[in-house]
């Protein structure tokens, strides 16, 4: 077991508002620089722990948000979530045939072990990221080869013109790791990872806390301000809230919407709703009758009172969805004629369907998930008007997850958040049944939409892509392959001592910009 530094212990003790230093209420910095804007140990409390630090394989947000403080990619998402800008790359050129991309690397970047970052590291990292199975390699399928002609240059060839490449390279799975895992095995490397980022690995007590320390040799001079960041697992909503009030923690990750009003009333606590890419859906399994009938799907989609859901589930903190894409991704079309709540139209569609007199069905819900429970009940009463007798099957979250993926359900609920600044990640997953997920586990299969998706991947001019993605969104809404519910923001509550904390629509945040006042 690791023994933390005595200095840190003192700092955390004082931060924790423990009896010893609660009276002065200050957070004495252990760094020599002093002052309000430098130093400090940030504590983030969250409902669940990270799963793994393997950036090429892991899908859990609670893991991603941690290792993004250590790993950096050639590009990064801009704060509005709609574009990318160079990070470890300096610039790029694209050949006339749009198949060869040449990147110049930023100079003077070092890994936290002191080794300089070169093109060999980039090649190693991209090759590893491409070779995973069941990880994020689907983002890199268009890459044919990665070459490192000299230390500062990387050449990427694609199999076909591939316009989302920069957005894909900005994703964390393509982050630059030291070549050959700095001499370690894959497993050992990810137990104590090394990157070029503003923070470096300290320790992980699994199920309890992860701590990262400041990278003193970070290439962006003067950053980060914080001495350390600790993510602590505090499963109980109320306990996380009181830890912010008690000064033991500074940032509360995603407090439930139901608690926001109460939190806003607390002194020294700030509540922020960051625009997100989170979209919730009603999934309908087309392998199960009568969901193969577009009229049935449309009828159900028309019967969902989205305004009511936003009010009851999000406490007003959200907007009804009109497209399966979200407003904070590029090429979202606000004019997409998504189906809105309209019982008259719902009844018309039912009359046209194969089951005009209704049918009985079962909604698969996760027990203990307040969204699922409320959604199921709202839906149940609406569908009764259409003659649909909907039962609610409650199984626990793990089992519900399995049943969805194995498509052993009729109607259910799911959501999505984007990781890259290009709609292709979600569009391919959601509408192309061959992409591994059977079109978001619905078996939706429209050849026109699939063809447009492939074409959009290879189109480089913005207007052309917009036209294709608008067509895809319109057709998908028309086919009602899912009921698009609402867009909701990322909620965060944090101490007023924290400044510079911003969450991007892709969910990530940059802790090198955060300072902790006294």
């Amino acid at each position: 077991m690791r023994k933390p530094l005595a200095a840190l212990v003192t700092a955390v003790l004082c931060l924790g508002g423990a009896a010893a230093c609660a009276d002065n209420g200050s957070t004495p910095s252990t760094s020599s620089s002093g002052g309000a804007a430098a130093g400090g140990d940030l504590v983030i409390v969250r409902p669940q722990d990270s799963v793994s630090m393997d950036n090429t394989m892991v899908f859990s947000n609670s893991s991603i948000w941690v290792f993004q403080q250590m790993f950096e990619s050639l590009y990064e998402v801009t704060p509005d979530g709609k574009d990318v800008k160079p990070l470890l790359a300096e610039s790029h050129t694209l050949s006339a045939d749009k198949l060869t991309w040449t990147f110049k690397l930023k100079q003077g970047v070092k890994f936290s072990n002191g080794a300089p970052m070169t093109s060999a590291d980039v090649k190693f990292s991209l090759d590893k990221a491409r070779a995973t199975k069941g990880g994020w390699e689907f983002l890199d399928v268009a890459i044919k080869s990665v070459e490192a002609p000299d230390d500062a240059t990387v050449v990427i060839k694609t199999k076909y013109p591939w316009s989302p490449l920069l957005a894909d390279l900005a994703n964390f799975n393509n982050a630059v790791l030291p070549k050959d895992y700095a001499g370690k095995s894959h497993d050992d490397f990810y137990k104590a990872p090394i990157g070029t980022g503003p923070f470096v690995w300290d320790h992980w007590n699994k199920g309890t806390e992860i701590e990262l320390k400041k990278n003193p040799t970070y290439w962006d001079a003067g950053k980060p301000a914080l001495d350390s960041v600790t993510w602590k697992v505090v499963p109980d909503d109320n306990s996380r809230n009181v830890q912010i009030q008690g000064g033991q923690a500074q940032i509360n990750e995603n407090p439930p919407f139901s608690t926001l009003e109460q939190l806003k009333g607390q002194p020294n606590v700030k509540v922020d709703l960051f625009p997100s890419t989170k979209t919730d859906y009603v999934m309908m399994n087309q392998n199960e009758k009568p969901y193969d009938d577009v009229h049935v799907r449309r009828a159900i989609s028309y019967a969902i009172d989205r305004e009511a859901l936003v009010k009851t589930l999000l406490f007003g903190n959200g907007t009804p969805a009109n497209s399966f894409l979200m407003p904070n991704v590029p090429f979202y079309d606000a004019a997409t004629p998504g189906l809105t709540y309209d019982m008259a139209k719902a009844k018309e569609e039912m009359a046209k369907s194969s089951v005009p007199n209704g049918f009985s069905t079962t909604f698969l819900a996760s027990s203990g998930d307040s969204t699922d429970q409320a959604l199921a009940q709202v839906l149940q009463s609406s569908l009764k008007e259409l003659g649909i007798d909907m039962k609610i099957q409650n199984v626990d979250p793990s089992a519900a997850h399995d049943l969805q993926q194995e498509q052993k359900y009729q109607i259910s609920h799911s959501y999505w958040t984007m990781d890259i600044a290009d709609p292709d990640e979600l569009v391919t997953f959601a509408v192309d049944p061959s992409a591994g997920s059977h079109s978001f586990y619905t078996s939706y299969d429209n050849p026109q939409v699939i063809a447009d998706t492939k074409k959009a991947q290879q189109t480089f001019d913005t207007a052309g892509r917009q036209e294709l993605y608008s067509a895809i969104q319109k057709q998908a809404a028309d086919d009602a392959f899912m009921g698009f519910l609402y867009y909701s923001p990322f909620s965060y509550a944090y101490s007023t001592k924290v400044s510079g904390f911003q969450v991007y629509p892709t969910g990530n945040y940059h802790l090198e910009d955060v300072t902790l006042g006294s």
């Binding site: 003790l13 423990a18 199920g207 109980d236 306990s239 793990s398 997920s437």
Partner: protein
């Protein structure tokens, strides 16, 4: 050391108990639907990735075979590997056991510190006002749910008066101590009503007995009569009550650990169940079972220490 052989026999007799528990736990958790591999790998999991993880943790083998290999490893002191964290269950337990043990010890000590003086007060002022109050007030505590008592204590003693940390466990023993007082008190408050009642009743019984009358008659001080003669004899039955209740409380640490964000075994158990982390569920259950067995054993030993007439066999 006259009890050493007895302790040895008791420990041996726990083996079939633990074996029985392991069978029940193993098959119950496997009966619940849900696949740890799919939970872990998330929404994009391919069938190959799921199959690879199944193979890595032996989840693709028949269930009886999985049980036998679990037993085989157990005999070598190996509790297996957590599927969720890819870490040895024993090292996870080592991280989590301290908080739970601190909590149980703190709760027991505080329960005794509160109960004994109050029970003595009630027994020696039988049917007077003090007795009535001592008997009535703790009942209110019995009626309040544990998690609510915990939240109230936090609001009052941590947020209003900054006497204790809101929650968490700290890093040093001193921090552990200040962190454990409120959760310990929460459990203690649930324990005291039963303890006070049982101790009071048995003390009253002892106070009426001949040897107490004799003790008083030969001129012993009131204090000595109470501590040496009454309390010691009355304690025997109360210790049984305490033992039974601590064993029961091992299970309720789950709620208290959650409210106070203590990194203990209760929270680990809950996470493991939700994620179908079979090896961790099995490991934690075995440790909880061992704790219950240990508390029962300590209860018997305490009986023997207090009452020389009790023969341990």
């Amino acid at each position: 050391m006259r009890h050493l052989a007895y302790v040895g026999r008791r420990l041996v007799s726990t083996i079939p108990v633990l074996l029985g528990i392991s069978v029940i736990v193993f098959f119950m958790i496997h009966l619940v639907p849900g696949d740890p591999a799919r939970t872990l790998l998330g929404v994009r999991a391919t069938d190959e990735a799921v199959a690879a993880l199944h193979a890595k943790f032996g989840l693709d083998r028949p269930i009886w075979e999985q049980y036998l290999s679990f037993l085989g490893r157990l005999l070598h002191g190996d509790l297996g590997r957590s599927i969720l964290y890819d870490t040895d269950v024993s090292s996870l337990l080592a991280l989590r056991l301290p908080a739970t043990l601190w909590l149980l010890v703190a709760a027991t000590v505080m329960a005794l510190l509160i109960s004994i003086p109050l029970a003595v007060l009630a027994a020696t002022h039988r049917d007077k006002l003090a007795d009535q109050v001592v008997r009535a007030v703790p009942l209110v505590g019995l009626g309040m749910p544990t998690f609510w008592v915990g939240i109230m204590l936090v609001l009052l003693l941590a947020l209003k008066v900054h006497a204790f940390p809101v929650s968490g466990f700290g890093k040093t023993p001193a921090q552990h101590l200040s962190s454990i007082i409120l959760p310990g008190l929460t459990i203690a408050l649930a324990l005291t009503p039963i303890l006070i009642r049982s101790l009071r009743t048995s003390m009253i019984g002892v106070l009426d007995s001949d040897y107490v009358v004799t003790a008083r008659a030969k001129g012993l001080s009131h204090r000595r009569v109470i501590t040496a003669h009454t309390l010691r004899n009355a304690a025997v039955s109360s210790i049984t009550v305490l033992g039974v209740n601590i064993a029961y409380l091992v299970g309720s640490t789950l709620v208290v650990e959650r409210v106070f964000a203590l990194p203990g075994m209760g929270t680990m158990m809950l996470d493991a169940i939700f994620n179908r982390d079979f090896p961790v569920v099995q490991g934690v259950t075995l440790v909880f079972a061992l704790m219950v067995v240990a508390v029962n054993l300590l209860t018997d030993l305490a009986h023997a220490a207090l009452d020389p007439r009790i023969e341990l066999a």
